[in-house]
């Protein structure tokens, strides 16, 4: 995997007239993982969108080297299409190899996305992210809706991605079992 890097300098985020957080900074290199922790509403998702380049920070800047991929609560899969086709759409765009094996979706490929359960949809979104070939994974609450078994498998997939030299940023209020995990608590950066 190519060299990758994700750095944030003095980030602040404002939603409406409320300053959510300020002074958030970190630097990640290949193989590293960061958990962004904090209670609901503190700005974890906003920070993820800033890191993804979808939201402009109120202050500070983000530098990245390598492709970014984001998985949030919106799976971006066509609800009426069978899962296999919905994933193949992104496969054709990304032109990357398919790696569904990690998420146990083989038996669901014929099922229209709208019939999938919350956890199955989450796994599909993670499979789309894993297959995108991006080096920097931005995971917003990746364990939401997953049972213990698939929660562990997802963390194993993150570890495998790191072992290949990728970066993972995980916004989650749940404890994660990842090696050498750095933690950034947004509570420390409240405005």
């Amino acid at each position: 995997m190519q060299q990758c890097r994700l750095a944030a300098y003095d980030l602040a985020c404002r939603r409406g007239d409320r300053l959510l957080f300020k002074g958030v900074g970190f630097e990640l290199h290949g193989g590293e993982a960061l958990q962004i922790a904090g209670p609901n509403g503190i700005g974890k998702s906003s920070l993820m969108r800033i890191l993804a380049g979808l939201l402009r920070p109120y202050n500070g800047r983000v530098e990245h080297q390598g492709l970014r991929a984001l998985s949030d609560e919106r799976p971006a899969l066509d609800a009426h299409r069978p899962l296999g086709e919905a994933l193949a759409f992104w496969g054709r765009i990304d032109g990357a190899a398919e790696q569904r094996a990690d998420f146990g979706l083989e038996d669901l490929l014929d099922v229209p996305v709208r019939y999938l359960s919350t956890g199955q949809r989450k796994r599909a979104a993670l499979a789309r992210l894993a297959a995108s070939g991006a080096q920097i994974w931005l995971l917003d609450e990746p364990l939401n809706g997953l049972d213990t078994h698939w929660g562990a498998s997802t963390q194993a997939a993150i570890e495998a991605h790191r072992a290949l030299g990728g970066i993972a940023v995980i916004a989650s209020h749940q404890p994660l079992q990842l090696q050498m995990l750095r933690t950034l608590s947004l509570l420390d950066h409240m405005a």
């Binding site: 969108r49 993804a52 380049g53 979808l54 939201l55 402009r56 492709l67 970014r68 991929a69 984001l70 949030d72 919106r74 799976p75 971006a76 899969l77 066509d78 609800a79 009426h80 759409f89 992104w90 054709r92 765009i93 990304d94 032109g95 709208r114 995108s132």
Partner: protein, 220 residues
């Protein structure tokens, strides 16, 4: 990049032509257009001269309203499902995406209207020359209607009652197309077609940028 854009265009077109649950397809605007052409003679009576004189204008009104019907499914569902965010992450420009969507929208409503126009012309007692002018007018004018439709859809996506608001916003913007389109059918109205083409080109030139700006602003 080209392969990605082609993949996205094929999906746009499939969704707009066939529709999906809750999205309708190309059939709805087409049936609406024909329904207006069919109802108008019932409403004004079987006076063939009156029909022939006013029929072309009715075709244009019906085309404009048919173009507004699919507004709420042009952009909103994909924005809601996170598609535009995922495309942005892959560095695909919103301007290109929306240009493709204008093309797909035009293919799914403009072309079917042109195919249905002879039937509507029969119902409204238009002669061959008038039908020809209507067809040329639709060919020049419907791309402009598609551009306006996608722009308004992007602007109102995510708003409450966006669908109703979209219709209200699109009508005044489409008035020049209606005036030039219907005007081209008046005696000596040949210049109308040129003005129609000019309005359409202006709308097409502005729309991808305006719509892309709306989508980006919606992320804030």
């Amino acid at each position: 990049m080209t392969r990605a854009l082609w993949t996205i265009f094929r999906r746009d077109l499939a969704l707009l032509l066939q529709g999906a649950p809750g999205r309708g397809g190309a059939a709805l605007p087409l049936l609406f257009f024909l329904a207006v052409a069919m109802l108008y003679p019932f409403a004004v009576g079987p006076d063939t001269k009156l029909l022939a004189r006013t029929g072309a204008g009715v075709i244009w009104v019906a085309a404009l309203l048919a173009a507004i019907l699919p507004l709420d499914r042009l952009v909103e569902p994909d924005l809601e499902a996170g598609f535009f965010d995922q495309w942005a992450l892959r560095g695909i420009s919103e301007e290109l995406l929306l240009l493709l969507r204008i093309l797909a929208h035009w293919l799914s409503f403009g072309v079917p209207l042109m195919l249905a126009a002879p039937l509507a012309a029969g119902l409204l007692n238009l002669d061959g020359a008038q039908l020809w002018t209507v067809e040329v007018g639709l060919l020049l004018g419907t791309p402009g209607l598609a551009a306006i439709g996608v722009t308004i859809a992007a602007l109102t996506a995510g708003l409450r009652a966006g669908a109703a608001l979209g219709g209200l916003l699109a009508i005044p913007l489409a008035v020049p197309l209606l005036i030039f389109g219907a005007g081209s059918l008046q005696p000596g109205g040949d210049g109308g077609l040129l003005l129609l083409a000019a309005s359409s080109i202006a709308a097409l030139a502005i729309a991808p940028f305006a719509a892309a700006g709306a989508i980006r602003a919606g992320r804030e």
